[in-house]
């Protein structure tokens, strides 16, 4: 069934042209990349853009490259691209692990990482992982280029720091000092298209500095700074993990919806933190489960 409302479709040849059209078209205009969120949202009448600006004809936006000690992802890099990139597998296998949990090949072949954070649904899989990696989002708008730290990116459910006329031009991800270990745990009712019921990414570096972020258990994916500070510099033990678990409720604000109850989400986040901390440390130490192994 066709989308109920009419809109203008503009295929941009350059990012500058995309910005120009987005700026001229006004506040309802939307960027179209993979379309796996935008198209069903338009059909659901959840968004009503008068103009849709397709950026897929712009050259070289699907590049994954190394820039010094940062990994750069172009705005058209798909989750399938993350899965097949040797650079990602070698430098940031956590991105590959995350990508492998996203929906199914038919979605991953199309859905982009940048689009995932632009849609900014609370359960977005890229959110927690980009948060612990402290990525930055490069955007271009009518007032020029700027960079937004990922922690300032998510403003609310389906709301981001992106302003009118702006388009994401890439993601820059600092590669943590070696050695490090990381894990993304995603709980879902069934494998495939189901969204996350709860998700957590844990990253630990050589000096026991932890970075932790939760997804699907609050209005936006968010870092758990209080738990990070509590754990900083300390060696994991059963007792320490149990104390950290007591801090989980302060770090999340889950709701009840058709995927899980608030209470279940709160409890499972404690379990996922336990498994995530242990797995991240064991991966750092070279004796953990291989990236991609499902631990929940």
């Amino acid at each position: 069934m066709a989308i109920a409302h009419q809109f203008a479709y503009h295929k941009a040849a350059t990012l500058d042209e995309a910005v120009e059209v987005l700026t001229r078209a006004g506040p309802t205009a939307r960027v179209l990349a993979g379309g796996t969120d935008l198209v069903p949202w338009m059909r659901d009448d959840a968004v009503h853009p008068e103009t849709v600006v397709d950026i897929k004809a712009i050259d070289a936006l699907d590049e994954i490259s190394l820039e010094g000690d940062h990994l750069y992802l172009g705005p058209l890099v798909t989750f399938s691209d993350l899965l097949t990139s040797e650079l990602v597998a070698d430098r940031l296998p956590i991105l590959r692990e995350m990508a492998d949990t996203v929906a199914s090949p038919g979605i991953r072949n199309r859905a982009t990482v940048a689009g995932n954070i632009c849609s900014a649904v609370p359960s977005c899989d890229a959110g927690p992982t980009l948060l612990v990696l402290e990525a930055s989002v490069a955007v271009l708008g009518p007032n020029g280029a700027r960079t937004v730290p990922i922690e300032e990116w998510f403003v609310g459910p389906r709301q981001t720091a992106l302003e009118q006329g702006e388009v994401v031009t890439g993601l820059s991800i600092p590669i943590p000092d070696q050695p490090h270990g990381a894990i993304y745990l995603k709980l879902q009712r069934y494998e495939g298209e189901d969204l996350s019921q709860a998700g957590v990414t844990v990253l630990v570096t050589g000096n026991n500095v932890f970075r932790i972020a939760f997804g699907a258990v609050g209005p936006v994916p968010s870092r758990a700074h209080e738990i990070e500070r509590f754990l900083a510099g300390r060696a994991l033990s059963d007792g320490l993990i149990a104390e950290a678990q007591h801090l989980v409720l302060g770090a999340i604000s889950p709701i009840t919806d058709m995927r899980a109850t608030r209470e279940y989400r709160a409890r499972i986040c404690e379990v996922m933190l336990d498994r995530g901390l242990r797995a991240a440390v064991s991966r750092r130490d070279g004796n953990g489960p291989a990236y991609g192994t499902r631990l929940i």
Partner: protein
């Protein structure tokens, strides 16, 4: 305002005029006549509308028709070679893999993509690759068995 597009479907080029709000799945079925792509959930959750776009599986219900301009599409109608079913399709038949058959086009295309990219999949690999294709009849086991046997034949 109608936009002119050129799309190749199963080797045949189709010049079409489409409205921006037309969905690719509808255009494939109603204008091109490729009705093997099925209308299921129309929101990307079920996999029955799966097609190959430039050789990679995508959900045709999640694409605007205008986005297909300049691309090559394979639907289930394009899988047999001059009317001869693929080895994988024959194995789906001999394993009695499908009952009502509504999910079959999407699963056949997804399995072809899997075997091309990973000729030696594990059982988990097959389950993982087809996780987005819902089948409400069979419980999936005879589908997975057929794909694994096809992989074995390719190896021999």
């Amino acid at each position: 305002m109608k936009l002119p597009i050129n799309v190749t479907v199963n080797g045949e080029t189709w010049p079409l005029d489409v409205e921006p709000n037309e969905i690719l799945l509808d255009v494939l079925r109603n204008r091109v006549g490729a009705k093997g792509a099925k209308i299921g959930c129309e929101r990307g959750d079920c996999g029955t509308c799966t097609i190959l776009l430039d050789g990679r599986s995508v959900r045709s219900c999640l694409m605007l028709a205008v986005e297909a301009d300049g691309h090559e599409i394979t639907t289930i109608e394009g899988i047999p070679d001059n009317g001869v079913l693929s080895a994988l399709q024959d194995l789906f038949i001999s394993h009695n893999s499908f009952q009502c058959g509504f999910c079959a086009p999407g699963i056949v295309l997804g399995a072809h993509e899997l075997l091309r990219d990973n000729p030696n999949p594990s059982r988990y690999d097959v389950q993982h690759a087809l996780a987005g294709n819902l089948c409400r009849c069979t419980g999936y086991e005879p589908i997975i068995d057929a794909v694994l046997e096809a992989a074995g034949e390719d190896r021999s």
